[in-house]
């Protein structure tokens, strides 16, 4: 390039965020003496309008043709400054960023050392930027269908909103019915409206809309492709019932002779048959055969369901089926699971009959539940006193450090229902009462006036003495150790990531945070995105969330997906691999290394050829090329080597 290189260097104070630890003026002064640098300035806020204007002005007036901004992480503002350059006709890839906030001022104690390190990073950027080439964003076609993984309230809301935007949506749900955890709840706080009444219409709508396709009893097996063009393999587990033929009459269920299988959906409070629908309002309201317990599958004899079925829908030969579907965007809404309190023997869950989980109690008070809405002890009697223990597995460094957020208000709801149903003594053992949502504190006040006994102290242990359950606690208001005798204990078990979270994270190539939930792209500004373009999150799979929050996120994720697919085209980063045919020896190492099969071999020329539409720019090929023929745009060997020289120049 014959054009004279003129670099503009801009050192940002970021208010005091950088300036407190880095002598920004000294860094600018240092930069001004580096080769090719025409202007070097330090400024209060480079990302704000006046800062951006400074760059624009220098480009226009001083003929600056390379820009270096030393400020925050490029993961934050690289796109901002690229746009600034482009707004005045300079290619965005003639820009380089030095991260002197996250990697310097915020993590360094000593001001002098921080200034030194900032200089090194600026020197590296200044050394590198003359070697950068103009690059141009590319566009690929966008598939406008959306996949929603998980059919709980968050996924349902997301799917209905996408469908409302006139786009096709597919829901994949691993259970035989959509509905998720919300379908199991009796009442919902703080309004106490019935859960099924507000949920089931939405479930039914999913089944009825033409542009919503349901895959229940199905799992996502494999995801290929990239934003705008995902190809997803879905495993439809063998249901042993042909959904097209089945009318959902339920005759098979009434005739099934195996009736003693623990009913998981009812939290094992009752039993079910081997052919079953999980609950009366299931969508689809068609049964599934539990092959592990079905006599036909275990002994080869029986087949009664098939005999009584009026439409011939039972199909013992059915096999798992793999289907592939194409999507432009994916919304992950896989929800949560309840912490298993039996891992902590101190709570006596699994040991004492009348120690149950919040969800079990929820099923009990539900009119269509196993006890028809009655609160009953194992012996069939009504309890005279009930203890509700908060924070079981949450806010506990032995299990989960985080707060599960919704359990305090859920516990208040259960306390209210317990009082209403039994009129007995209801004790609530809490550490802090966290009623954060709209109307929740008012709900707390209401429940307090209902004669519930609130004890400020964690229920640390449940023991039995002469057939009597005792809850042990340190009452922190009285400053006293107490033992409270009760008939029944309800454990507000923590909200934790579902068991398949890890596997799904791998399938989707998305990340999880330390608590095991899926990780959002930014905790505040990108709560619904993942670091993988085109994959969004909503609901409790990202962290504990109540219904209003899950619904809001479901709608939000739908909006993210709709805004992405409505653009019609996907922007693809111009950072890709490039092969210099003159240097390529045709060894084909790169072809085997590429995880995206983006490189092929040109038999005629005997060189490697990169398919830029498939290449994602990881650079694994470049890192392994023995002749240096394969390189990465914006990350060429020369650029990186020069940057290394640069960081060591100071």
């Amino acid at each position: 390039m014959s054009e004279e290189i003129k670099i503009g260097v801009y050192v940002c104070h970021c208010g005091s965020n950088i300036a407190d630890k880095v002598d920004c003026a000294a860094v600018a002064e240092f930069a001004s003496k580096l080769p090719n640098v025409t202007v070097a300035r330090d400024f209060q806020y480079m990302c704000a309008d006046p800062g951006q204007e400074l760059i624009r002005k220098d480009i226009k007036e001083q003929g600056i043709n390379r820009v270096v901004v030393a400020s925050c992480s490029p993961r934050m503002h690289e796109p901002t400054f690229r746009k600034v350059c482009e707004s005045v006709g300079l290619n965005g890839y003639f820009f380089e960023m030095a991260n002197i906030r996250e990697h310097v001022s915020w993590c360094t104690e000593d001001r002098e050392a921080a200034t030194e390190k900032a200089k090194a990073l600026v020197a590296a950027a200044v050394a590198r930027v003359p070697l950068q080439e103009p690059l141009y964003e590319r566009y690929a076609d966008m598939n406008d269908r959306v996949l929603v993984i998980g059919g709980g309230i968050a996924g349902i809301e997301a799917a209905l909103k996408v469908s409302g935007g006139n786009k096709e949506v597919v829901i994949v749900e691993k259970e035989p019915s959509i509905g998720g955890t919300m379908a199991k709840l009796d009442k919902t706080f703080p309004t106490l409206d019935c859960s099924a009444c507000i949920l089931t219409p939405k479930m039914v709508e999913c089944a009825q809309r033409d542009n919503v396709k349901l895959y229940t009893y199905s799992e996502v097996e494999k995801v290929d492709g990239y934003v705008g063009n995902f190809t997803v393999t879905i495993r439809k587990k063998a249901r042993s019932v042909d959904l097209d033929k089945c009318t959902g009459c339920g005759l098979c269920i009434t005739k099934c002779p195996t009736k003693d299988i623990p009913h998981e959906w009812e939290e094992n409070l009752t039993t079910r048959t081997a052919i079953f629908t999980p609950f009366p309002q299931a969508v689809p309201n068609k049964p599934v055969i539990d092959r592990e317990n079905c006599r036909y599958f275990t002994t080869g004899k029986c087949g009664i369901c098939a005999k009584v079925c009026p439409t011939d829908a039972v199909d013992f030969e059915q096999e798992d089926e793999l289907v592939t579907e194409d999507f432009g965007a994916i919304i992950v809404a896989t929800g949560f699971e309840l912490f298993d309190p039996s891992v902590g023997p101190q709570w006596g869950f699994g040991k004492f009959d009348n120690v149950i989980t919040s969800l079990q109690f929820e099923r009990m008070v539900n009119a269509s539940g196993p006890t028809k809405g009655k609160v009953l002890l194992k012996n069939g009697e009504e309890p005279k006193s009930i203890a509700i223990l908060h924070c079981i597995g949450s806010r506990d460094e032995n299990y989960h450090e985080y707060c599960s957020r919704f359990c305090c208000t859920a516990a208040l709801k259960l306390a209210h229902l317990a009082k209403e149903k039994t009129n007995g003594d209801v004790y609530s053992f809490y550490i802090d009462m966290r009623t954060f949502g709209k109307g929740y504190e008012e709900f707390y006040n209401r429940i307090m006036s209902e004669g519930i006994h609130f004890i400020r102290g964690k229920g640390t242990e449940v023991v039995e003495r002469k057939g009597q359950l005792l809850v042990r606690t340190e009452d922190t208001l009285l400053g006293k150790y107490r033992e409270v005798p009760v008939d029944m204990v309800v454990l507000m078990a923590a909200c934790q990531p579902g068991q398949d979270t890890e596997k799904l994270a791998q399938t989707l190539a998305i990340q999880r945070s330390a608590d095991g939930f899926f990780l959002e792209a930014h905790p505040k500004l990108e709560p619904l995105k993942t670091a993988t373009d085109g994959i969004f999150l909503c609901g409790a799979c990202q962290g504990p969330k109540d219904i209003p929050d899950s619904v809001a996120q479901g709608a939000g994720a739908a909006s993210e997906a709709l805004s992405l697919i409505s653009a019609g085209k996907v922007k693809i980063s111009p950072i890709v691999a490039r092969c210099d045919e003159d240097k390529c020896g045709g060894c084909m190492i790169c072809i085997n290394l590429c995880p995206y099969t983006a490189i092929s071999y040109d038999e005629e020329k005997k060189v490697a050829v990169v398919n830029e539409a498939k290449c994602k720019g990881c650079g694994t090929c470049s890192g392994s090329c023995p002749t240096g023929a394969m390189t990465n745009t914006n990350f060429t060997d020369e650029q990186i080597m020069t940057q290394i020289e640069g960081v060591l120049a100071v």
């Binding site: 992480s73 490029p74 993961r75 991260n99 906030r101 996250e102 990697h103 310097v104 001022s105 915020w106 993590c107 360094t108 104690e109 000593d110 050392a113 921080a114 030194e116 390190k117 090194a120 990073l121 590296a124 791998q506 190539a509 990340q511 945070s513 330390a514 990780l519 670091a531 993988t532 950072i575 060894c587 190492i589 085997n592 290394l593 995880p595 995206y596 994602k616 720019g617 990881c618 650079g619 694994t620 470049s622 890192g623 392994s624 090329c625 023995p626 002749t627 990465n632 990350f635 060997d637 990186i640 080597m641 940057q643 290394i644 020289e645 960081v647 060591l648």
Partner: protein
């Protein structure tokens, strides 16, 4: 009292996990020694072994390469490729007479700011103990020889498809 030796370590970090982890350390205001100067690549799979040698040639006292944890690589398996190169690099560095503590490959995820601090601190301490990096006398000739055999080594490892760790 003479000023304590402050090593200069080049950190080559992948964009998606380790660079983000280093960002998080900053965001969380975790303080750690200022000796590691970070160069960003999209994936640890991009790290050509010659980058590491280049850093030493330019006078780095140590080189830290960090990527996503195994199975977490944003590009599926770039980190495994780097893992394979690590074996080769370690042998080469040993032959060049460079102490093993001067080169390290770590896995740091986007939420492991603390871990990043720990690795940096450990490495800085180790390199401080060794003292400044002294280029071997016949560094250039040896290096060139190794560069020549590098191609074959990469080919062999690539053909093996990775390491069996």
């Amino acid at each position: 009292m003479t000023k304590e030796f402050e090593p200069r370590i080049v950190g080559i970090l992948c964009n998606w996990c380790s660079y983000a982890g280093a960002d998080l350390a900053g965001i969380s205001r975790i303080k750690y020694p200022p000796n590691v100067r970070i160069v960003r690549v999209m994936c640890s799979g991009r790290v050509d072994p010659s980058f590491v040698l280049k850093a030493f040639a330019e006078g780095a006292d140590g080189v830290l390469v960090s990527g996503c944890h195994p199975v977490d690589c944003h590009y599926i398996e770039g980190n495994y490729k780097m893992w394979a190169r690590k074996v080769m690099l370690e042998t080469m560095l040993q032959q060049l007479g460079i102490e093993p503590e001067r080169f390290r490959l770590t896995w740091v995820s986007a939420n492991e700011g603390e871990l990043f601090k720990q690795y940096v601190t450990e490495m800085v301490d180790a390199v401080k103990k060794l003292g400044p990096f002294q280029k071997p006398v016949n560094w250039m000739t040896e290096l060139l020889e190794h560069e020549r055999s590098l191609g074959t080594a990469v080919q062999e490892i690539a053909a093996g498809g990775g390491v069996g760790e």
